[in-house]
Structures are given as C-alpha cells and as structure tokens.
C-alpha cells in the first residue's frame, strides 16, 4: 500500500489515465468558469459597497488557490486514509455544527458561521466531503453491519441533518439527506427501505416547513412570487427577471443589469441568474450539458472502480457536486423554494470552495485508484 501511494505520487500527470486527465480538465474548466462568472457578478456590488471592484474576486482567487492545494493533497492521498478519517472527522464536524447553534454568528436569522480570527468557518460546508466518505463506508458494507451499528449510524446521520435544520439551514439539510439517500440507492439497498426513508425525510421536511415561518413563507412565495414582488417574492422575482432578460443569447459577459443591486445575494445563491442574464439560454444549456457530462464522467469512474467503497465515493462525489448545482439553479429559476445553496466552484465563499474541491479531489482520486494497477493491491473494499 505504501508502495502504491509512492507510485501514484511520482506518477506524472501526463501518464495519468485519459479519463482522469479529462476529469481534471473538467474540474479546472469549472473553476476558471466560476471565477469568470463571479468576477462579473461581484464587481459592481464590491465597487459600490466596498470601494474595490476586485475585493470579492481577489478573495475568491486566494481561496481557489488554497482549494487547489487541498485538491492536490486529496488527490495524492490514498482514499483508504480518507475513509478511515471519515468517521472521526464527521463527529468533529457534527460537534462544530452543534457549536454554531451556541456561539455561531447569525446572518439573516441563521447561525451558520464560526468565527476563528480572520477566518469564518461554515461547518455545514466542511463536513460535506466526510458525509460522502462516511456514507460510502456505511452503505458499502450495510448488509454486513449489525443492527445496532445500523441504528447508531442512522441516528448519527439523522442527527447531523437535524442539527443543520436547527441552524436553520433547510437547503444544506435537504442536500445532505438527498445525497445520502442517492448513495444508499446506488449501494443497492432494498427499494422498500429507501422509499421508507424517503417518506421519513419528506415528513421531516414538511414538518420543518410547517414549524418555521420563514420556510413556510419561502414555499408560499415560491409558488406565486408575483403575488408579493416587493416582499417575500422579491428575491425570486428579481432572479426570474434576470434569467428572462437573458433571452436566447444573453446580454453579454459583464452586461447584466439585474446584478446592479436589483438581484439580492447575486454572488452566491443567485449567481446563476446573473450568468443566465449575460449568456442567455445558450449559456444555460451549455452549463446544463457540462453538468451532464460531469455526471456521466462520474458514472464512468464509478462503474470502472473496483470495490464498493470506491464506487460509492465516486457516485457520492458526483451526486453532491451535480446535485448541489441542480438545486442552486432550480432555486434561481423558481423550480424549487428559495433556499440558500451556493453553486459549487462558482458562488463566492471559501468554505464552499474548499469543500467542493475536496470532493472533486476525492473523485479524481477514485479515478486514479480504479485505473492504476498499483492501487489494485490497496482496494478499500478488501480492508
């Protein structure tokens, strides 16, 4: 195993399998694309509010570099190690999420942040890779687990989701639940189980919506945003106006009008609206096709991976990146109630960027390990 790691580390990129290189290319393209879109979406607001048009993009660039450093570490580290780390990391992450409820910084009524000196930590973002990893660990050997183990882990995962809900952060909670469910689906668990869990999740979601006024308002305003275009429907209406203004070919890069203080949170939750206004339906289709290609590449990695854990990590990583993108775009286009999810690798935010590149790194690592003959000896499924 040590030799295998060694071998991978020294393996130059041009000797990597074509699939891995293509995957790397997709991720790099996605990152550059994200920076370009964010640069356009952020400069006006940064200029108006902070006096520096480049304020946002400079910070994002630094985070992007840090993210790629993390990415290369992830790619060079055997997946097995990450899988071993998953459980303790997840528990620590859960603790941090719990901590946000106590000492978290409250933004827009949600306590999502832990302030550590100059750095703001968002535990809900940082635990995402470990949820995928732990999900892979659990579901790959689900049938071999004793009942108490199953119950314990179900409780832990359910607890995490409830904690995230408590922040309140319905969007991340539902994304986490959705990804875990899809991984469980992928792992081959019996369908009646999955349907039961899904029913449980939906009930929990519905209850949350009924209990929390802000969530209920969002759902009702999502159904008919034009009823209150200046109040609860404001964000969605502005987003729809932006996307609609794009038309077929868009207004051109940098020329969105809606981003000029009409569209709220235009650098994170509604960044897709800015993009869609500037690049039109053509641009939107390009992004959707890109995501589909990415999902198919993820599928290819998963299918070629030998070992359940590898397969589940690959499909989990693909699902969380593509799924989060889908949810973000669905929110911006009014296909889903307004929830605050960043668009991976595009939206402004260091935590989200690190988590996304971590996850992307895991996927690339899966691709490497499934292809490199030296890694066959360290197939996680055998451990």
């Amino acid at each position: 195993m040590a030799r295998g790691t060694q071998g991978l580390l020294t393996l130059p990129i041009n000797l990597w399998p074509a699939e891995t290189r293509l995957l790397l290319g997709l991720i790099a393209t996605w990152s550059v694309f994200g920076l370009l879109v964010l640069a356009s979406a952020s400069w006006w607001v940064s200029q108006q509010e902070l006096g520096d048009a480049l304020y946002t993009i400079k910070r994002q660039l630094i985070w992007m570099l840090a993210g790629w450093a993390l990415f290369s570490v992830v790619v060079r580290t055997p997946l097995k190690r990450w899988l071993q780390l998953a459980a303790p990391a997840l528990l620590i992450g859960t603790g941090l999420v719990a901590l946000t409820l106590i000492i978290g910084t409250t933004v827009n009524g949600a306590s999502r942040w832990l302030v550590l000196g100059p750095i703001q930590l968002q535990p809900t973002e940082l635990i995402k890779p470990f949820i995928v990893l732990q999900g892979a660990v659990l579901f790959s050997q689900w049938r071999r687990l004793a009942l108490d183990q199953r119950v314990l882990w179900m409780a832990i995962l359910g607890g995490i989701i409830l904690l995230i809900l408590k922040q309140p952060n319905l969007s991340t909670a539902s994304l986490t639940g959705l990804v875990l469910w899809l991984m469980a689906l992928a792992s081959g668990l019996p369908l009646h189980w999955l349907v039961g869990i899904a029913g449980l999740g939906l009930t929990a979601g519905t209850t949350s919506i009924l209990i929390n006024d802000y969530q209920r308002l969002r759902v009702t305003s999502f159904l008919d945003p034009w009823q209150d275009p200046l109040g609860n429907g404001y964000q969605l209406v502005q987003s729809l106006l932006a996307i609609g203004s794009g038309g077929l070919s868009g207004s051109g890069y940098g020329l969105s009008t809606q981003k000029l203080m009409y569209l709220p949170i235009q650098t994170t939750d509604f960044i897709f609206a800015v993009y869609a206004e500037e690049f039109g339906f053509v641009g939107s289709v390009v992004v959707l096709l890109f995501l589909a290609v990415f999902a198919l590449m993820g599928l290819r990695v998963a299918l070629r991976s030998r070992g359940n854990q590898l397969r589940l990590v690959a499909i989990g990583c693909t699902t969380i990146l593509v799924g989060q993108s889908i949810m973000n775009i669905a929110v911006a286009s009014g296909a889903m109630p307004t929830t605050g999810l960043p668009l991976p690798l595009v939206s402004y935010g260091g935590n989200s960027l690190l988590a996304s590149l971590f996850i992307a790194g895991l996927l690339v690592r899966c691709s490497l390990e499934s292809a490199d003959p030296l890694s066959l000896s360290s197939r996680p499924s055998r451990s």
Binding site: G188, T257, L260, A276, F281, L288, L299, T319
Partner: protein, 596 residues
C-alpha cells in the same frame, strides 16, 4: 452491465457477506441527476425563450426611470435680446412627518414635527409654529413651501433631515412684470398657457424635450446603456419679438399717466416699422402682472387694441384721401367749399366745431379736420368704387398677423353702402365703419411705406443662444402709388405744423400726424358723451418709416380731443423713438442748438 449482474448474483450465492454495488443502481442515480438537469433545461427554456420577452420588458420597466419632460418653455426676448419671459428653477418642499429623523439617529427613532419645524423655520423665514401647525397631524405629503430659490433649497437640503423632500420644477417668470402682459399672456399654476403669445404660440414655445428613459442600477446609479448620441440634447432656442422694451416702457408710462389724468376707460399705444410691419411697441392700459395673474380680472387678459373694434373717426380721413387720390377722383390741388354743415338724405352733418371754412384745399381739410370737406371730397368718387377700395384695404378681413386673437373690421355690405348716400358720407370721416387700432395702424403704414399693405407682427422668430434675428424684408401688397402716399403724408405734416396736431411738433423733425375724436357707438346707436380719442403720427416725413398710433377710450371732462388726450402720449413716444432709433433731425433747429 448484465455481466456484472450475473457476477453479483453468483457472488451473492457463494459469499453472503459480499454485496457489490450494482452498476444498474449507479446508472439509476446518474439518470436521475440527468433527468433533473433536463427538467431544469425545460424550465430555463420556458423562462428564457417563451416568457423571456415579457420578463425582460418587466425588468426594463423596473430598471428604467422614465423622465417625463419637465415642460420647459423657451425664453422670450425683445428685439435687443432683453429677457421678457424665462423659465427659472424653483423648488417645492414636501414634509413626510412619519419619516422625520436626524442624520445619525437610530433607524427606528422619529422626530416630532415641532423639532423639524424649528430647524426649518429660520431658513424658510417663517415661524416654527406656523410650520408645525401646517404639518398638524398629517403623516405625509405636507407642502411646506413652494417657489423656493434653489439656493434656499440647498440650505434646507444641507440639514439632511429624513422625511423632507424636494421637488424641482421650472417656473415661468416675467421679469418686466406688467409691461408685456398684454402681448405675452401667462401660464397658470399648472403651467398651461392662458393668454397671449404663450397661448397662440404654445407649440413653438414648448422646448423640444425628448422623453428620456434612463436605465438605472438598483441603487439609482444611471447607466450609460441605451443613451444614444443626442438624447441629452436640448435646444436653446429663444423666441425673439420685434418689441423694444425701452419704447414699450415709455409708451406704457405715458399712456398710463394720460389715462389716469383723463380718467379714461383704457388706452393703447402702438408703434410700427412700416417698412416690414414690425411692431416696436404695443402698450395697453390697464394691464396686469402675469407673475400674479390670479389677482386680476380675466377681462384684462386680452389685448383690446387687437381684439376690439372702434369707429376710427378723423384718423381715417388720410386713408380716404389716399384712396380718392389713387382713384383719380381728387388731385393734389383739388379744393373744397366747406360751408360748415350739409345734409345728406335728411341727416345733418357738421364740422366738430361747426365752423365754415370756405374754399379750402385738401391739406386744410386735414388740418381743421373738416367733416363737411371730407364728405364733399369723397362724393367725387363713385360710392361703388369707394366701397371696392375699402374692400381692397381688407377692412372686413382679420389682418394677417401673429398677434393672438386679431379680429376683422366691420364694413357695411356693398348694397347697403351704395343704397344710401349717408353711408359713404359717414365713412368719409371715419364713422359707420369699425376696425381695430391694429388695422388702422396697418392702413397708416401703407401711407408711410409707399403704398404697401404690410402684415403687422411682433415675432421675429426662434434663434439659438444670444443670436438675434434679422428684421424681415420689405413685404406687403402694393395698393397705392408712392406719389399718392407721399402727397397724403405731406398734408399730414401740415396738420402737425399748422393744424390740430401741433402738440406732436418736435423741433428739427418732420412729422406727419392726424388727430381723431370719434363718437362711440353701441348697437348702432351713438352713446352720448362717449368719445374715443386718437392720434396717428408718421416720421420722419422725408423718409417715412415709423407709424405711431395712440388711442384713448372714453376720456372724461372738457376739451376731450385727440389733440389733447392722445397726441401728448404720441409725442413722448416719438421723442423716445427718435433717441432709440437714432433718427437724425431733418432740418436745422435753432441757432442756439447749432452753437452748442
């Protein structure tokens, strides 16, 4: 795929614990993701392709601030470029007590109207209590002050009080006050024109303002998008009049003095450049201040010299003589036997002083303003021919002029005129027919300019910036021979030198003139004691150019004649005109003047 399935089944069969992840499930997950992407694609196609146009227009509507034209109006200037009517920026201050807050206050805190009033009062120059009283219990939309100078508004703005709004708008100002009110008219409080040129030339006075839609960002910053070249363009055209403020002021002052002195009903003074019909003065008494129009009776808002008819009386005699000369019914040497009175179809006709002048020439007829002489002179003309001449002078047609509301005169029909000998007889001394002072001025202009019927007018045109228009060229229909008009002018000069118009004599200048004292008629009956006095003057006779007409309506008292009431006004106007137009004297004046 099927192979894997088979393999997994086999493995499941052998080792229960090994449960490989089925490829079909992996594919299912990705298919789910891709169908979600497909769904999003359809949603976006709907938003961007189907509903796109509607959403875009909605967005543009929200992003675009429509600037309604402020309704700026062009400046009006006199012939020298002096400002007669201008738009000035004025500010209205609105208070919304529900938002009253000092800068730096807590967002939830509100100040009382009393506190705000105390801050505003010293700047507005009113008491704080009156301000807070005006606000009373109103929550919003209280007009605190209007017509503020922008500088005052700026001082209020510097206080930075939340809940105080400023509305900027143009306000029409007439710097000369009542001097041109009769000509210019005014705008009401809604800036809609109510009288005068403001009304008749409304569409020309309105500035060309494009409806401008400026795209703005959410915080109000204007965006350069969609603002093409020229969309910010504003022309600076000004309407230039032919009137001269200095002459107008002299005319107005002298007229007012005389009207008050004689306790007259009203008066008008007109000065025309006969070469092209430009009016240099059109003063009217009584008049009103267009800056405070609401304090005056609406009856004052019309110019009677243009809109009201009167029987001109003796001032029409020179016109008659010109017609008769032109028609060859008279010659320059014709003489008349004036017996002081005569009877036409049973109607007695006297001279105004009932004197008989014996055999006199036509110059004398004018000098003594002999009615009997005029009747006899005009009797040498066939009445049909006479009527046709009056018709040719367009007595019964509204004159071609830019003065608002000009009306046509009254001339009896040809049948009536020729059927009864009294009709041409009264017409020969200017009774029995009616015209406006403006029309009479036009007819006299014909004597001054060598026989052309010019269009009297007061506008020269629109010019950019400080540029001034040129005066228009010679115009008008030639009706008389220059020799005829010169002959009549020579007779009129003798009226000033030796006759009833001596008041208007100015040493060194050759001036022609004619007085008029006519009876006023209403519904075909002469009103006893109601006279309308007038005086018309031409100058300088050697190169006639200017016609001055003064009409004073219903002066009261003894010795009410054109020579006593109207002529002094004309003389003052002529004196000012000589200076303003720098007309050199025609002849040496006195030895004393020569030596100085």
């Amino acid at each position: 795929m099927s192979q894997t399935r088979v393999a997994s089944r086999k493995r499941r069969g052998r080792v229960l614990k090994l449960h490989p992840v089925p490829s079909s499930r992996l594919i299912t997950v990705v298919v789910l993701l891709c169908s979600a992407l497909g769904g999003l694609g359809m949603r976006l196609a709907w938003l961007q392709l189907v509903a796109g146009e509607q959403l875009e227009s909605r967005a543009r509507q929200a992003q675009t601030e429509r600037r309604n034209p402020l309704g700026r109006r062009r400046t009006i200037v006199d012939r020298q470029g002096r400002l007669l009517a201008i738009d000035e920026e004025r500010v209205t201050v609105w208070a919304h007590p529900r938002y009253f807050r000092w800068p730096g206050d807590d967002p939830e805190q509100r100040r009382s109207p009393r506190e705000v009033a105390e801050k505003l009062a010293p700047i507005l120059g009113v008491s704080a209590s009156s301000l807070s009283q005006r606000m009373g219990q109103h929550r919003s939309g209280v007009r605190l002050a209007s017509n503020l100078e922008p500088s005052t508004a700026a001082r209020l703005k510097a206080l930075n009080i939340d809940g105080i709004d400023f509305e900027h708008g143009p306000q029409r100002i007439y710097p000369q006050g009542d001097l041109f009110a009769n000509v210019l008219g005014f705008l009401n409080l809604e800036r809609s024109p109510q009288a005068g040129l403001e009304l008749s030339l409304d569409d020309k006075l309105r500035s060309q303002e494009l409806k401008l839609g400026i795209r703005r960002s959410g915080d109000g910053t204007p965006l350069p998008d969609g603002i093409g070249a020229g969309s910010m363009h504003r022309d600076d055209l000004r309407l230039q009049l032919t009137l001269d403020t200095r002459l107008q002021r002299v005319a107005q002052l002298e007229l007012l003095r005389q009207v008050e002195k004689w306790n007259a009903k009203r008066g008008a003074a007109l000065v025309m450049d006969a070469r092209n019909g430009e009016l240099l003065a059109l003063a009217s008494v009584p008049t009103y201040d267009p800056n405070r129009f609401w304090k005056f009776k609406p009856g004052l808002f019309r110019e009677w010299a243009v809109q009201d008819l009167y029987e001109p009386g003796s001032t029409f005699k020179p016109i008659n003589l010109a017609i008769a000369l032109q028609a060859k019914a008279l010659t320059s040497t014709s003489t008349i036997d004036d017996k002081g009175s005569l009877t036409i179809s049973g109607w007695p006709i006297h001279n105004h002083d009932k004197k008989a002048h014996g055999r006199i020439d036509l110059a004398k007829v004018l000098q003594v303003s002999s009615n009997v002489g005029m009747v006899q002179a005009m009797q040498r003309m066939d009445s049909r021919n006479y009527w046709q001449w009056l018709n040719k002078l367009e007595l019964n047609i509204a004159p071609d002029t830019d003065l608002p509301g000009a009306v046509s005169g009254q001339l009896k029909s040809l049948d009536t005129f020729t059927a009864n000998a009294i009709e041409p007889a009264t017409a020969s001394f200017g009774q029995g027919l009616a015209l406006t002072p403006l029309k009479l001025l036009q007819l006299h202009g014909m004597l001054s300019n060598g026989g052309r019927l010019v269009s009297p007018h007061i506008t020269r045109g629109l010019r950019s910036g400080t540029e001034l228009s040129d005066s228009s060229h010679l115009s008008g229909r030639q009706l008389l021979d220059p020799a005829v008009s010169q002959q009549v002018l020579a007779w009129m000069e003798s009226v000033v030198e030796e006759g009833s118009g001596q008041v208007a004599r100015i040493p060194g200048y050759r001036i022609g003139g004619k007085t008029g004292t006519a009876q006023k008629a209403a519904n075909g009956v002469y009103i006893p004691g109601a006279l309308i006095t007038s005086f018309v003057a031409h100058l300088p006779v050697e190169d006639p150019r200017f016609v001055v007409l003064v009409v004073v309506d219903e002066p009261q008292g003894e010795h009410v004649y054109g020579s006593t009431v109207a002529a002094p006004v004309a003389r003052s106007i002529i004196e000012a005109l000589l200076v303003i137009e720098q007309i050199p004297p025609s002849k040496a004046v006195t030895k004393a003047l020569k030596t100085t």
